[in-house]
């Protein structure tokens, strides 16, 4: 089989999730830094919706290829209501997002680590 140890849907999904959380963390950091900048529009990163769509649609090898080509998308949010100075950052929402992002990142790293440990046990052929 040509599949290597970490080239499966689960590991790839977890890695892509890590990429998304890092990108989102950067967007949130920027939103918080610009909370008092007039006219600033908040940055957002979308990923989970597209991931769900891909995983609902395909199974097996197709799912792997689809997840591999998935990229988190950075957007400028012009829809959220803005304050009179044109800035649309809501600091409470950003802090909530920040906590969500950190927890998602923790979950993904923990699962990746568990997966790595499983591989390790298999390689060492523990009885």
């Amino acid at each position: 089989m040509s599949r290597d140890l970490f080239n499966d849907v689960t590991s790839t999904t977890l890695r892509k999730t890590l990429d998304a959380t890092v990108l989102r963390q950067k967007a949130i950091a920027s939103n918080i830094a610009n909370v008092e900048t007039p006219g600033y529009k908040r940055a957002a990163v979308s990923f989970e919706g597209e991931l769900k769509r891909v995983l609902d649609r395909s199974r097996g090898p197709q799912a792997l290829d689809a997840v591999k080509s998935l990229q988190p998308i950075r957007q400028t949010d012009t829809q959220s209501p803005a304050r009179p100075d044109g800035n649309n950052v809501n600091i409470d929402a950003e802090i909530a997002d920040l906590n969500k992002t950190v927890l998602l990142n923790r979950a993904a790293t923990t699962l990746l680590q568990i997966r790595g440990n499983m591989m390790k046990s298999a390689v060492e052929a523990k009885r």
Binding site: L18, T21, V22, L23, Q25, K26, A27, I28, A29, S30, N31, I32, A33, N34, V35, E36, T37, P38, G39, Y40, A43, R74, I91, E94, I95, L98, N99, T101, V102, N105, R106, T109, T110, L112, Q113, G116, N117, K120
Partner: protein, 138 residues
């Protein structure tokens, strides 16, 4: 793209809010200063921020905040009737700085909260990087 750049973004926010805090402290300290080196009473200082974007592959990525300028507030001075003051005019009025202490206090609370929010973001980045580093441990 490096995950460490989130630190730089939060650091730019912390620096911006501290600069604002410096201006507020200066305004409060000089709320009664009727003489300055430029002549006339002290004028209130305000800090302007600008969002920074870094261009990665033609797609502007958020890159933090920058202190654009520290400007003086051109609004009118307060007139206080105090004939005994050495800077009083012929009618006994003294021109006092255009600093409103209450306004400065509100700005100060806002700057403190924004400063703390940036520190919170920095701690979150740190915990994410630590999680990544812990993956290497058995």
């Amino acid at each position: 793209m490096s995950s460490f750049s989130s630190f730089d973004i939060s650091a730019s926010g912390v620096f911006a809010q501290r600069t604002r805090m410096d201006a507020i402290a200066n305004n409060i300290a000089n709320a009664e200063s009727t003489r300055t080196s430029e002549g006339g009473p002290y004028r209130r200082q305000t800090v302007t921020f600008r969002a920074v974007y870094e261009n990665s592959l033609g797609n502007p990525a958020p890159g933090g905040v920058r202190v654009e300028s520290v400007t003086t507030d051109p609004s009118d001075f307060r007139l206080v009737h105090d004939p005994s003051h050495p800077d009083a005019d012929a009618n006994g009025y003294v021109k006092m700085p255009n600093v409103n202490i209450v306004e400065e206090m509100v700005d100060m609370i806002s700057a403190t909260r924004a400063y703390e929010a940036n520190i919170t973001a920095m701690n979150a980045t740190k915990s994410m990087i630590n999680a990544a580093l812990d993956m290497g441990k058995a």
